[in-house]
Symmetry: C2
Subunit: 170 residues, 2 copies
């Protein structure tokens, strides 16, 4: 059974839209819980705004191709469960695992937009390609920030965690 | 309740060991299913060997610190479920989602070893730090390879997928 490249682009755009909705939930939950890591919290809050803008951009691409954002595909469902699982966990090393999970999620987004850019290019949809390239830049910047801050966050966590009476995990 | 940095290092090493076991299962399942993407298959097979070596290195760090590899912590359990979910799914765009998932998993590993390197450094455990740095290099190389090949894999998939009678997804 053959599928047109355009159908694939539309499916992947829908996946990306569901992914950004999940990103917004996960980041919002993280930002609300963080108390002792102000830089991380501020960067997450900035990225929540970017994520909302990205959702609108993806919606515009999806309607231009005649689709709707109502359907969520298999992998997105799995990823959403994964993200919700992370948000719902109370871990003693919450801030470290949260930063790790945020970095992982960013890289899922980076891979998704890299695929979408190649696919949009293949079908000659330059508007979708340019939108995805603009979103990709924001994801790369966020991933880079998180990777650079994983070490410092870990060091702060370990210092606080060995001090009796000090809350380290968020 | 205070926790020593050394306890955290041991916990994270155990998480990493569980993660590499899950990586081996996921990569093995992917390599076995791929038929029409020989470069991707070969790179995955190479990384399966690296993953086995990494497990041994982590086991050595864990025993040196007086721990055992039997306990699997919360997040690792979630990640394992996530990996298994991906392996079990039959998707029409399996090869694309497989490459995406592989890239995501590599980045989870990259974040984990970045955290472990900072933590090992903080407790002055240079042997663990050096082991994790050696593993990190392999993960970065694999992640880079996958990111560079996501576009070409997508293009090949789209070409095969629009051709009647040609199997595209693996």
């Amino acid at each position: 059974m053959a599928t047109t490249p355009r159908d694939n682009v539309l499916d992947w755009l829908r996946d990306a839209h569901g992914m950004e909705q999940q990103a917004e939930s996960m980041l919002t939950a993280q930002a609300e819980r963080l108390e002792n890591y102000p830089d991380l919290r501020a960067r997450i809050q900035q990225h929540i705004e970017e994520t909302r803008w990205q959702q609108q951009q993806l919606e515009a691409c999806i309607s231009r191709l005649g689709g709707s954002t109502s359907t969520v595909k298999d992998l997105t469902g799995k990823l959403m469960a994964f993200g919700q699982g992370i948000v719902g966990m109370t871990m003693t090393d919450e801030v470290v695992k949260g930063a790790l999970s945020g970095y992982v999620f960013e890289n899922m987004e980076i891979a998704s937009y890299t695929i979408l850019i190649a696919a949009a290019e293949a079908v000659g949809d330059t508007a979708t390609r340019d939108t995805c390239a603009a979103i990709l830049n924001q994801e790369v910047a966020m991933a880079r920030w998180l990777l650079e801050h994983l070490g410092p966050v870990t060091e702060t966590f370990l210092l606080r965690d060995q001090t009796p009476g000090v809350q380290a995990k968020r």
